[in-house]
């Protein structure tokens, strides 16, 4: 770094529940090189400038979903966002919006995890097969119907992008509804009726107003807005036909 050392200003939204009544901005001057991510910048702060700064991270390669934060007000994975793109200006990092701040850049993910468990995010076999009967077969076309929705890494960027979740945390939210669709759309799965009890409620698909920003910020191309909104038609058809379809009323 020696003679070409560049320094960037990083403002961190601090929140230490034992001393801060509300979050406050704190500024740090961080020397950096062009290959450094925002996560590495924050790590530099913790290692050399202020050990009290708290944040989550793990893999550093955009697959663990831990290091999401608001970077200049956009939800991003800090490990795949680079300091050089903000230089010579400064950048601001803040805990993911719409989720309660636990401490500094760490959010309280309790609500997300509780909802995640509630949607039965596993295959509920359409037909029980014994080992002797062999695998559950699926064609490539059938796989294409859910594959993109299975790429979610639970990073919660889409929750930070969803104003409907921010306005009403009872709404299940983009990522988990996309995961619900991932299982519902799987040809081997037979759990649609169980899951759609939530899907067809105000807290499910109908809590979405098709803002679409969740799909913009998703680092894995999941497109939650599509997963949710394509179900509104199914939900509406089910709503109107449930009385004439055998067994439809109790679904």
């Amino acid at each position: 770094m020696a003679d070409t050392e560049k320094i960037i200003e990083i403002e961190v939204l601090r929140y230490r529940p034992e001393q801060d009544k509300e979050p406050v901005w704190q500024s740090y001057k961080v020397p950096f090189t062009d290959d450094m991510s925002v996560l590495q910048g924050v790590q530099y702060i913790k290692d050399y400038l202020d050990e009290t700064v708290s944040f989550r991270w793990s893999c550093r390669m955009a697959i663990c979903g831990s290091c999401g934060m608001m970077i200049d007000d956009k939800p991003k994975l800090s490990c795949k966002t680079f300091l050089r793109d903000y230089y010579p200006g400064k950048l601001r990092v803040e805990a993911l919006k719409h989720l309660p701040i636990e401490r500094d850049l760490i959010v309280d993910a309790t609500d997300f995890i509780t909802k995640l468990e509630s949607i039965k995010p596993y295959i509920i076999p359409k037909e029980e097969r014994t080992l002797a009967q062999g695998e559950y077969l699926q064609t490539p076309e059938q796989r294409d119907m859910y594959e993109q929705f299975s790429s979610c890494i639970n990073c919660m960027l889409c929750y930070a992008a969803c104003p409907q979740y921010g306005l009403n945390p009872k709404f299940t939210g983009p990522g988990i509804l996309a995961l619900m669709h991932r299982y519902n759309a799987d040809s081997r799965d037979g759990g649609q009726a169980e899951r759609n009890e939530l899907g067809y409620a105000d807290e499910g698909y109908w809590g979405c107003t098709a803002v679409g920003y969740c799909s913009e910020v998703c680092p894995k191309g999941v497109d939650p807005a599509n997963a949710i909104n394509q179900n509104k038609m199914n939900s509406a058809i089910n709503y109107f036909t449930r009385f004439v379809t055998p067994g439809g009323a109790d679904k």
């Binding site: 104003p163 306005l167 009890e197 939530l198 067809y200 409620a201 105000d202 807290e203 499910g204 109908w206 107003t209 509104k232 939900s235 509406a236 709503y239 109107f240």
Partner: protein, 118 residues
């Protein structure tokens, strides 16, 4: 979880939005700009005789009702969400105001069309 009644309003919203997206611009241009100011079309395009004839015809009645009612239901749904987005939390009042307005408009339009006899 309680099943949402949104499908009713969403279906009307969608139908109105689609109709507005497909023919809305042309309709506004015809009724609001071209005909009143004598552009493109003959001046008598929206004359009393022409419009009466349109509203005496069953296809015409359906078209007029579809445009007015579905536009109102489309708008009611979005305005309802808009108020929610702006942080108005009086949910019941907002619903009654928006959907009640669309319902009233629909009834007035349908009644007027039924009263126009051939």
């Amino acid at each position: 979880m309680k099943r949402s009644n949104e499908p009713i309003f969403w279906s009307l919203f969608g139908a109105g939005g689609m109709l507005a997206a497909l023919v809305g611009p042309a309709l506004v241009f015809i009724t609001g700009i071209a005909v009143p100011f004598g552009l493109v079309f003959k001046p008598e395009t929206m004359s009393y005789a022409h419009m009466l004839a349109l509203s005496q015809n069953w296809a015409g009645k359906i078209f007029i009702l579809a445009v007015i009612a579905l536009f109102l239901w489309h708008a009611a749904h979005r305005i309802h969400i808009l108020l929610h987005d702006f942080g108005v939390h009086a949910v019941t009042a907002v619903r009654v105001l928006c959907y009640g307005g669309a319902f009233a408009g629909t009834v007035i339009a349908a009644y007027t069309l039924l009263m126009i006899k051939a």
